[in-house]
């Protein structure tokens, strides 16, 4: 026995202690409980994995029968295989770092104990999600992390926008959950079980149409949780929450749950080609779409939020192209550099006392050097510059995409260039040039910078963890040759993105005086870097957004997104008149409806033929 249950239960204990007694505990005690539980959990993960050794097959611990009805038995079973091992390390490792960081970040915020209680609860559910050996436990974690995300987004609940964002996240996730629950029910009906160990080996023998349906419904669930088009809308808004939350939940862990789930269900997707193809399309579409929007955001967290959506799209592209291990690989490296980006952004915001607008930053390079240098590591990592982390994983995905369909590779490369561009733009605007705000920036305390340093190291070197190799027993490596030309093209694209950004935001201002007189009008055009943004915003982002809203996402963005919120409310409003007619409060009217109902029932039962039962 490895006592796997300790891994999720430790954070749960932290939640219970802080949630119940946190109000009366000293701040130090709250911190100790919150950090201790997560660190212990991380330690236990490491100990377990060391104890389990090679993990050629899944290691399962069965505790008790959760419920049984008929032939369906669902146990409280936890299992660890290589995929889980990777996820566990990411969740508890990055989670621990972010917890440490949050201690510094949240010091001056109200509701300190509550924040950490929620954060620990989130860890509990996330670990259940990853460790569960059946779809139902996965679903428990799935719903749980959604709930915590909602609580944490709404943490600054005095801000109306935070409440609204929380609601939006919840509702969009409900749409995804609808898909997931239906898929789960279909799995029960088709396979008679929810255990991964029973479902996946049997997948090959089931009709492809059923598997496709299950795959598509699971994908709907994944789209909700992992912010894929058309359900991506909640994630950028979710940045209303405190920055550590953005880093932990909305970049590193929860949003990757959909990727994990699809990878976990690879056996189903491998036998449902249409569904898998759909995964690739949605991933690619989201990657391009979100990157396009990310190019013109002025809020530093919004830039990274759209970047997250886009990178998640990459992962889905990998999964859809059949390179499950590449998708997971990117999940890992992305967890490193995106958590770092968010935490660094948090440090910047912290330094500028809450300023999030890139247009009011600038020149921070020398003021907060640690933040700058650590962020720079994330920067090169996400831009896909070899030999840093993002390069390896992105490369694996792009190669798989090329193998799958060459045009997908080219779109992917274009996206990579855009990614490099917008991250560079954010970096240049924030750290280079002249200071544009009226702030007195100060470097963050060590408790915040230390996690940054660790993550920076991981962003630099994380690419050398050969995750695909490690996952080979689960996902056979695709045979796509390591074509040097393809790799070179994507690297060049990344470099081009950085170069272009440097040209727009760094180099030109320096050349300004020299070129100014010569070029006149053109100079003003270029000098005013915001003009570029505005032009771009007007020429590209707005049309893309409006166009997509009008044409492609009309039903989705207007109907579904604002939600089951406004959409459903308007249906409700539309039926309001009818309702008032029926619910008139008049007894005689009610009786009339009863009479009519009974006539309908009589006619219906009278008309239906007695067909064979």
């Amino acid at each position: 026995m490895q006592h796997l249950w300790l891994i999720p239960v430790l954070p749960l204990l932290g939640f219970l202690l802080n949630g119940l007694f946190g109000r009366r505990l000293a701040k130090g005690a709250v911190t100790a409980i919150a950090l201790g539980s997560v660190l212990l959990s991380f330690a236990w993960v490491v100990k377990t994995l060391v104890g389990l050794g090679a993990l050629e097959t899944a290691y399962i611990e069965r505790y008790f029968t959760w419920f049984q009805s008929g032939d369906l038995r669902v146990g409280a079973d936890l299992s660890v295989d290589r995929l889980t091992a990777v996820m566990l390390l990411v969740v508890t490792g990055v989670g621990s770092l972010i917890h440490i960081y949050a201690v510094g970040y949240m010091t001056h915020e109200g509701g300190y104990y509550r924040f950490f209680a929620y954060l620990n609860l989130f860890m509990f559910f996330m670990l259940v999600l990853v460790l569960g050996a059946n779809f139902l436990l996965l679903f428990v974690g799935w719903e749980g992390v959604g709930l915590c995300s909602y609580l944490l987004i709404g943490f600054y609940f005095l801000k109306k926008s935070a409440t609204d964002a929380g609601k939006k996240a919840f509702i969009v996730n409900r749409i995804g959950d609808f898909g997931f629950s239906l898929a789960m029910l279909l799995i029960v009906i088709t396979f008679g079980s929810l255990d991964f160990g029973a479902v996946f080996p049997a997948a090959a023998s089931k009709p492809e149409s059923t598997l496709t349906l299950i795959g598509l419904l699971l994908l709907l669930g994944a789209c909700g949780k992992s912010a894929q088009a058309p359900l991506y809308v909640w994630l950028p808004d979710a940045m209303e929450g405190p920055t550590p939350v953005s880093a932990l939940i909305h970049a590193a862990t929860m949003v990757t749950a959909g990727v994990y789930m699809v990878a976990r269900s690879s056996a189903i997707y491998l036998h449902a080609h249409a569904a898998q193809e759909m995964v690739a399309y949605i991933g690619l579409g989201t990657a391009v779409f979100a990157a396009t929007i990310g190019l013109a955001q002025n809020d530093i967290k919004k830039v990274f939020a759209y970047s997250t959506v886009s990178q998640l799209g990459y992962m889905f592209l990998g999964l859809g192209a059949g390179a499950f291990s590449a998708g997971i690989f990117h999940l890992v490296t992305h967890a490193f550099f995106k958590a770092l980006l968010f935490l660094g952004a948090g440090s910047v915001i912290h330094a500028l006392e809450g300023e999030q607008d890139l247009r009011h930053m600038g020149g921070l390079r020398t003021r907060i050097p640690v933040t700058f240098w650590t962020l720079a590591c994330a920067w090169v990592a996400i831009a896909g510059i070899p030999p840093f982390a993002g390069f390896h994983s992105k490369d694996a995905i792009l190669l798989a995409a090329h193998h799958h369909a060459p045009w997908m590779y080219w779109v992917g490369v274009l996206t990579a260039a855009m990614t490099a561009f917008y991250v560079s733009r954010a970096m240049f605007l924030a750290f280079f040039g002249e200071p544009r705000g009226h702030h007195h920036p100060h470097e963050s305390p060590p408790v915040m910078t230390a996690p940054l340093a660790v993550l920076a190291l991981l962003s630099l070197a994380g690419g050398f963890l050969d995750v695909p190799k490690f996952l080979e027993p689960l996902f056979p490596l695709s045979e796509g040759a390591h074509d040097f030309a393809l790799v070179a093209i994507s690297v060049v694209a990344g470099l081009a993105g950085i170069g272009l950004a440097a040209l727009f935001y760094v180099v030109k201002p320096g050349l300004a005086d020299a070129v100014a007189n010569a070029l006149g009008g053109l100079y003003t055009l270029v000098y005013n870097k915001y003009f570029v943004d505005e032009l771009y915003d007007a020429a590209v982002v707005r049309p893309v957004e409006t166009g997509s809203r009008e044409a492609l996402w009309k039903g989705v963005d207007a109907g579904l997104i604002d939600g089951a919120a406004n959409g459903v409310a308007s249906i409700a409003r539309a039926t309001g008149g009818l309702l008032r007619l029926i619910q008139s409060g008049n007894i005689r009217s009610y009786a009339t409806w009863v009479v009519f109902g009974s006539i309908l029932v009589l006619v219906a039962i009278g008309l239906v033929g007695g067909g064979a039962r």
Partner: protein, 166 residues
């Protein structure tokens, strides 16, 4: 003879029932309803239900309807006011009435094709003795339960009619 008796009392019942519906003064409706009940009692007799016929007159027409009339008198209810209306009931009421009537009549007419012909004296099992025997053996439990029902009626009336709460 059976036919004449049936037709006569059925006609009285129907006319009285229609009167219940069309009268605006509750007292007229109540008296018409007593008329319906009385003629039904005769029909019960024709069907051989002696005990029920008696109970109909004593309990229904005698006790229950007296209660109604008493309340009408108590509240000094006059002809009903024409204030307020239910569009739904007025628009859909007549079609609903006919649809229901047609459906129910069709059901009993078409679906009980080989029903017996009723002759007075064709069935004589409905005496007080027969009913009582069954009531105290097979139907003992529901019979006892009706006592709970009566108890509720008393308690309920007390609750609602009492002067002040605590």
């Amino acid at each position: 003879m059976d036919v004449i008796l049936f037709l006569a009392f059925a006609a009285i019942a129907v006319v009285c029932a229609v009167n219940v519906v069309v009268q605006t003064h509750p007292i007229s409706s109540a008296l018409s309803l007593i008329g319906v009940m009385g003629s039904l009692a005769v029909l019960y007799l024709l069907l051989g239900a002696e005990f029920i016929a008696m109970a109909q007159v004593i309990v229904y027409a005698g006790a229950i309807m007296v209660l109604f009339v008493f309340v009408i008198m108590l509240l000094n209810a006059g002809a009903e006011s024409r204030r307020g209306r239910s569009l739904t009931a007025q628009l859909l009421g007549i079609p609903g009435f006919f649809a229901l009537l047609v459906l129910l009549s069709y059901t009993v007419l078409r679906l009980f094709p080989d029903a017996a012909h009723v002759k007075f004296g064709g069935f004589t099992g409905g005496s007080a003795k027969d009913v009582g025997k069954l009531l105290f053996t097979e139907y003992l439990l529901p019979f006892e339960l009706t006592s709970v029902l009566i108890l509720i009626a008393i308690v309920g009336a007390v609750v609602l009619a009492r002067k002040e709460l605590e």
